[in-house]
């Protein structure tokens, strides 16, 4: 039985390019990876937002109205619904003046998991404990 821990680090703003969104969707894909693995093998991701990437965690995104695409907010709700660990850097939120009440949650969809606002030090530890770190 083997587990591979991965850290997905989203550091760029959503919508300017596709790449930061792909960080979220690739992390969510852990939910179905078992169909390609041997019995007992698992992949455990942590999805972390730092720098400009923290903007992805804002509520009330209008991506469908403006761009006709699913918002990163909706992808994050999905991430929480599938029990993904989602961490956002407290210091970088503060730099943008974003308070915790502005952060996406998925309570309306019945998710128990919440985005964790943590010091960068905690995200650093996630990266250090991961086998592979993937930057988006």
């Amino acid at each position: 039985m083997a587990d591979t821990k991965l850290a997905f680090i989203v550091q760029r703003p959503q919508y300017k390019s596709e790449n930061p969104k792909l960080g979220i969707t690739h992390a969510i894909a852990y939910q179905t990876v078992e169909i390609l693995l041997e019995d007992g093998e698992t992949v455990t991701p942590a999805l972390c937002f730092i720098g400009d990437g923290v903007l992805a965690c804002l509520k009330d995104q209008k991506a469908m109205g403006n761009y006709e695409i699913t918002s990163s907010e909706m992808h994050l709700k999905t991430a929480l619904l599938v029990d993904l660990d989602v961490l956002v850097c407290k210091e970088d939120l503060e730099r943008f003046g974003i308070t915790e009440d502005k952060i996406v949650d998925a309570e309306d969809m019945g998710a128990e998991k919440k985005i964790q606002v943590v010091p960068f030090e905690t995200i650093q530890k996630e990266m250090e404990s991961a086998k592979h770190v993937l930057f988006f």
Binding site: N19, I28, A29, L37, P45, H132
Partner: protein, 119 residues
């Protein structure tokens, strides 16, 4: 020998990143390593067949075909590829089509991962 998985998100044209990744893959496989390549985002356009190699632009087709012949597994994100108007008959034969979990599964079995982000 080791297993290397390369995830590429950059476009073939407009960036030399995918070109670099393909040549790195060739070097690794020539040294006897097992290599997997995952294409996502703009990189997926690189699997279009019948590319015309104009000398002002990098080309992917001949490199992909050579890598496939050497046993490299190349997989494109199906959703990313279809969104760019490339359907399976338009693609280089031998390229696999799958979803993002393919990449995670290959990472799981790899000794090293090179994740090369996009623009």
């Amino acid at each position: 020998m080791a297993t290397l998985t390369i995830g590429v998100f950059s476009s073939l044209v407009g960036s030399m990143t995918l070109d670099f990744a393909l040549k790195l893959a060739e070097t690794a496989v020539n040294k006897g390593h097992k290599v997997n390549i995952w294409l996502s985002g703009n990189a997926t356009a690189g699997i279009k067949n019948h590319q015309k190699h104009l000398k002002d632009y990098s080309t992917g087709e001949k490199h992909f075909r050579a890598l496939l012949e050497k046993g490299v597994e190349v997989c494109t994100c199906e959703a990313c590829t279809l969104a760019r108007g490339i359907n399976k008959p338009d693609a280089i034969e031998g390229v696999q089509w799958n979803a993002m979990h393919w990449y995670l599964a290959k990472i799981h079995t790899s000794d090293r991962v090179l994740h090369i982000g996009g623009e």
